[in-house]
């Protein structure tokens, strides 16, 4: 009979129509600004820089090795390496980025920077409400905007962050062990040489510059 397929279809839409009043499956809308979908843990949007401790400038894990900049497929990262070294959150002397820009208007959220970073310094954020009406200022994120604390990282990607922390701790442990060994060896060597010459000051005692003296002065000047 002409029309039975049509009637079957009509029945289906009617079922959905009435179902939408009783069944959550048939009313899937999440009313965005008020309601939000539960955040999925693995989500990635744009990269951010992780820092340890409280001071974002001091605690940045980034040592500006330029690996992410080189590997970034669309080349949206721009790093300027410092000329001097500063102690990081655990007190180790490191180079640091004088300038670390990510152009989110170019970034393709591919996560390759995260993958290649040997220092776990760059991670993916879940923040997506970055709309702006300022094409040049609003979408070029500088170091200050990119730096986010490790706690924040734990909040958005708990499992991953825990794994990263464990790995870092292990590495530090190893590092410490190595340093200890080195120190022991050095001590032994020093002891052997003790008679010959007085021990020179170990490298870890370089005076620390006052915090905030050399901030990202250049970063802000670039765009207007």
């Amino acid at each position: 009979m002409l029309g039975d397929g049509i009637i079957k279809g009509l029945a289906e839409t009617a079922r959905n129509f009435f179902g939408s009043y009783v069944d959550k499956e048939r009313l899937t809308t999440v009313q965005y600004p008020e309601e939000r979908l539960p955040q999925i843990e693995g989500t990635r949007d744009f990269p951010f820089l992780v820092y340890d401790g409280d001071d974002w400038e001091k605690g940045l894990r980034c040592v500006s090795c330029h690996i992410c900049e080189k590997e970034c497929p669309p080349k949206c990262i721009f790093i300027e390496k410092s000329k001097d070294k500063k102690p990081d959150a655990v007190g180790k002397l490191q180079f640091y980025p004088v300038r670390f820009d990510i152009d989110v208007s170019v970034c393709m959220s591919c996560q390759i920077c995260v993958e290649v970073c040997p220092f776990d310094a760059i991670k993916m954020d879940v923040e997506f409400e970055l709309s702006s009406d300022d094409r040049f200022g609003g979408l070029l994120h500088h170091k200050d905007k990119l730096a986010k604390s490790n706690e924040y990282y734990h909040k958005i990607h708990p499992t991953e962050a825990a794994a990263v922390d464990a790995a870092l701790a292990e590495e530090r442990e190893k590092e410490k062990e190595k340093q200890k060994q080195a120190a022991l060896a050095a001590a032994a060597a020093a002891a052997a040489k003790a008679a010959a010459a007085p021990a020179s000051a170990p490298a870890a005692h370089v005076p620390v510059p006052a915090p905030g003296t050399n901030t990202d002065t250049s970063a802000k000047e670039e765009t207007k």
């Binding site: 002409l2 279809g9 009509l10 959905n16 129509f17 939408s20």
Partner: protein, 391 residues
């Protein structure tokens, strides 16, 4: 008391008329009759658009507009303000006058047809003794306006839309008129008021609607299909066929001119529904004898909204036909069937009432429906298929 409420608008008008000097009485009476139409139907149009958008939303597992005003009911107001303040663009090469006249004409035509629709007991603008004829005649003006719009825009897509529109509308004009003829035969009058009055009686609790006869239901379905095509609604929305010819005949219209086409489309849809109600669903008559205490105008609008919802429902479900299929369906199925329907309505008149009459006419109609649809499906490209699998 029920009569009081039923006739409240009529009484209101009479009360006002009492204060009007007799010289102005005809004019005032006319204005008072026309005013409600100008208020009620555009309002109904606004409600329908909200209903449609929210209803479609619900069919599609979502809410639909719910931000403008409480529950989104002010959405049409926002759309209206936006349309009013939107720039009006007329293509350079277009025929400016015709381009301007088309939306005006289509709205006029859409309003005029309401003058013969009885929306309640004693509630009709003018009881023309050729009311149905008037309805169809004025309804054809819409076709003209649509063609004017499409042709004057001088865009290729609008030209295609206009060509489709004119072909489609004249093809479905015939089944629409002919399927209405059966009701006229039964009522013996072209006056819409008489036709409704003829259906106002009851047998037991059942009303004397023409819908409840074999030729009536056939006529009703044919009329509704034709009305869908006449008002360019899905699945017959070829003249504006969004996915094919972009926006069809009104592709070059912006601002309020475009809104007027929108208004006219819905007014046309409501007018066709109103005529279907008048011809087959007993107009303002209550569906059961024990419900007659509810005012007649309520029943009319209840039926109207119900039918609009069916339109929306269909729109939410069906894909569009193709032009040639539409024409085939119109000329090779609708037209012959409506002619047969006229014959069977005639036979009905001469056969003795009772079960025989029912079964003979039903059989005749079903058989012809079956044969005609088989003819439509004769094409080898119209079958369910089974598929083979390679492993």
């Amino acid at each position: 008391m029920p009569e009081m409420i039923d006739q409240i608008f009529v009484l209101l008008k009479q009360w006002i008329m009492g204060y009007v000097p007799s010289g102005l009485q005809p004019l005032c009476s006319a204005i008072l009759s026309v005013l409600p139409i100008l208020v009620v139907f555009p309002l109904l149009f606004a409600i329908t658009t909200v209903l449609e958008r929210k209803g479609l939303g619900r069919m599609q597992n979502r809410y639909g507009p719910n931000r403008a005003g409480p529950w989104g009911i002010l959405q049409p107001a926002a759309d209206g303000i936006k349309s009013l303040t939107k720039e009006d663009i007329v293509p350079r090469s277009a025929d400016h006058l015709v381009h301007l006249l088309a939306p005006i004409l289509i709205v006029i035509a859409s309003f005029l047809v309401y003058s013969v629709v009885p929306v309640g007991r004693n509630m009709v603008v003018v009881d023309l003794n050729a009311g149905v004829l008037f309805f169809f005649a004025i309804g054809s003006m819409v076709e003209l306006a649509v063609f004017m719009a499409g042709w004057s825009s001088r865009s290729k897509y609008s030209l295609l839309g206009a060509m489709r529109a004119i072909a489609q509308m004249i093809s479905y004009e015939m089944p629409m008129v002919l399927s209405g003829v059966v009701a006229i035969m039964a009522a013996g009058s072209l006056s819409t008021v008489t036709i409704v009055n003829m259906q106002a009686g009851y047998t037991g609790i059942w009303p004397h609607w023409y819908l409840f006869t074999p030729w009536g239901i056939t006529g009703y379905i044919l009329f509704m299909i034709a009305a869908t095509a006449e008002s360019n609604r899905c699945p017959f929305d070829m003249p504006e066929g969004e996915s094919e010819i972009i926006a069809g005949y009104f592709i070059e219209y912006s601002g309020f001119k475009f809104a007027l086409f929108f208004v006219a489309e819905y007014l046309g849809m409501m007018a066709s529904s109103a005529m279907a109600i008048t011809l087959f669903l007993g107009g303002w008559a209550a569906p059961f004898s024990f419900l007659t205490w509810i005012p007649s105008w309520f029943w009319f609008f209840a039926k109207l909204i119900l039918m609009l919802m069916v339109f929306i429902w269909i729109r939410g479900t069906l894909p569009r036909l193709r032009m040639d299929q539409l024409m085939n369906f119109g000329w090779k199925f609708m037209l012959p069937l409506s002619l047969i329907n006229i014959v069977s309505a005639g036979l009905w008149h001469y056969l003795p009432s009772g079960f025989t009459r029912w079964s003979v006419i039903s059989l005749l109609l079903l058989l012809s429906c079956f044969l005609l649809s088989r003819n439509l499906r004769r094409n080898k490209w119209f079958q369910e298929r089974t598929y083979r699998f390679a492993s």
